[in-house]
Amino acid sequence: MNRAFIAALESIYPPQRLLTRDVELLPYESDALTAFQTKPAAAVLPDSDDEIIATVRLCHEHAVPFVARGSGTSLSGGSLPIADGLIIGLNRLNRIKKLDPQQRIAVVEPGVINLSITEAAQPYGLYYAPDPSSQSICTIGGNIAFNSGGAHCLKYGMTSNHVLGMKVVLADGTVTQFGSESIEGVGIGPDLVGLFVGSEGLFGIALEITVRLMPQPELYRTVLAAYDDLGRAGDAVSMVVASGLLPGAMEIMDRLAIKAAEASVKAGYPDAEALLIVELEGETLQVNAEFEQLRGIIEASGAFEIRVANSEEERARIWKGRKGAFSAVGRLSPDYIVQDGVVPRSRLGEALVEIGALKEKYGLDVANVFHAGDGNLHPLILYDGRAAGALEKAEALAGEILALCVNLGGSITGEHGIGMEKRDYMPAMFSEEELDIMQALRRAIDPLEIANRGKMFPGGEAPALKQHGMHPLEKAGVISRE
């Protein structure tokens, strides 16, 4: 980073918002994936759109790479700094500029925390639907970069389904508006909002985002069904989907996961090969009517035991085991690898059978806890790291499961994105032509490749990640990869 560039930054920022000393930059060298650490050459903390725009233009002019960063909560290394690059910290841009309950929209700055939108909308009976598990701290800017989902994305979709428009500064300094404040504005011409959402920061920075707000559900109804066969639970999911019902959540746990949950939180679950939890939410009349239909489907699905939650306490009891299951699997094995992949939900049963076969082939245990509704699988591959060759075997199995997901028409990541973590898996999912198109698009917008350089695309100079077992937060049950 040259002196002229720093001098130019000094003309934009007061000293306390231009960080160049080691002590100031060290805390920025990782996001929530600490396996990667890179100290940036400098960091700036803009207070306004204009400062961001001026900064990006300066980066373009001096060919200095930059990484936009909100709360630094990426679990795939998405906001890892670039050595000799600049960090643009957006967390101070945390104003909700407008909240219109009639139009059910909010206009927010990129550093606004996801949950803050819901808190602001609550007095009007509204909320912001995408709910990643880090929603109490992750920012909308990061949600846009990674098209974040959450436990309820089955019914309500991901971030891309909730962003109506945005003002952006592209990596070459162009400032423009995508989409508009109205739903009708979407769908005319190419979907540029859709292009920007999920681009992992490679196109530029969203400056002002218009999001949809939804009415809060009036009622939740929850049912737990026990099966003596995992495939049958998977089939039940297909039956629910085929019936036209759209539950807020559908979760499956297999025998090993149930065992772990019982050991950990004593949820009092039935002794079964598989448990299915289905929850409906929405307006009272509709939910009650749909619940009768759901009950019929579950009864016809071959469940040997059905429990219906008749109170908030009973609902909490059903969820307690599910929420604790992921972290509890750690009790069954000293080490394990968590895989995060997606299959089309119509092929869920098939995927589970295949995983069962792989399990036999490798002679390793695999526990399954997953968000069945949108086909997001989380096989936990159990192994003992002290045994020679066990890790390699488990890794090979994990790789095969990912390949299986892709072969079935699914995806290599459910929620965390590619970032640094899964760059090298991109060719498994996308053809050379597809990757070329992505690169061409990126270069059209960012000819110098300065925006979040080194992320998402395979290759690059950074080392591949070797992290085994669950993320410590997953162990604590705070986040999950659903």
Binding site: D22, V23, L26, P27, A32, S71, S134, L473, A476
Partner: protein, 404 residues
Amino acid sequence: MATAIEKCVHCGFCLPACPTYSLLGEEMDSPRGRIYLMKNVLEETLSAADAQPYIDRCLGCMACVPACPSGVEYGDLLVSYRMLQERERQRPPLDALARRLVIETLPYPKRFRLAAQTGRIGKALRGALPEAFASMLNLLPEKLPSPLPAPPVLPARGELRAKVALLPGCVQQALAPEINYAAAQALAANGVEVHSPPKAGCCGSILLHVGAEQQAIELARRNFGQFPDDIDAIITTAAGCGSGIHDYELLFKDQPDADRAAAFARKVTDFSAFLSSLGMRERTGFAHERRVVYQDACHLLHAQGQQSEARALLMQIPNLRLLPIADAGMCCGSAGAYNIDQPAIAAELGRRKVASILAAEPDLVVSGNIGCITQLRQQLKSTGNPLPVRHIAEVLWEACAGSE
């Protein structure tokens, strides 16, 4: 320390809870940032002097502890780190003098009274000294109240339900002797025999908070043996004392009287927690409705996990309406001696806290901590607002006595 540092996974869940992060918006002034800096200092990849300003800016409010999913013991880490650094730290002369004044005056009611009353510091130095001194002076009231010693033993009224001793505290004795007086009366009214041991003094917490380890140990020691053995609890009426005493384990680590310190700490309970678990017997209440905001002291809420105890007591009082406020868990900026060390941040946090209190339109603010009370009074005074701020012991005594 190593365990606490290793446990931190840099997830960022602590960020929204941290007052300095919300104010300054930079990673260095966040819990995970500070942990990272401490880690680098301990690993000798960063100089302690470089990291110091950021560690100094930590309020020690502990709001990050309950927010942490990985269970990082930030409090233990901070206290240990501060003790370690203070042993080697070189301060500029004026800072050193200000700190000396804090350490040598605050824990000793007599010296504090003398310093304040004669105006020796005030008149001679006001205006001529840096911000640290001015803010110290600002905290002093125009005139100190007369001492109001509680009787050595205040008998329980009605049936005897428990026997306790009151920890006298330090600054509080000089600034607000009416708090312990009211606490004793409120307890007695509820069937508690209250001892006020004449030779007991400062528990050392305020010194522990600023990392003055040796002085803290000496003060703490003076209290051992000053309290009767047959009491059910030692009651504190200041949040910082309670949480500091619960850190005795850390303070007395490797000390010959560690067991004694631990036994002492086990007996210590906050006034509200004690009365709430004993159950209030007297609650005549107020003649007219009082709209009350309860101000959580960080060292009760975050450090001791007491969210509901004081509220439960207040809600039992007839004609008392408890009002919720926004960001109740956010520090008011008092934080022990923080408003002396970091006056600008303390003042801004105070302004924010007062704004959220006023939004609830109360006619009384109640807190369980002298630090919060002083800070809020000062903030309210600077805006010319006459809203009274009182200690919960005073309000409960008044409510028990049925006066209005």
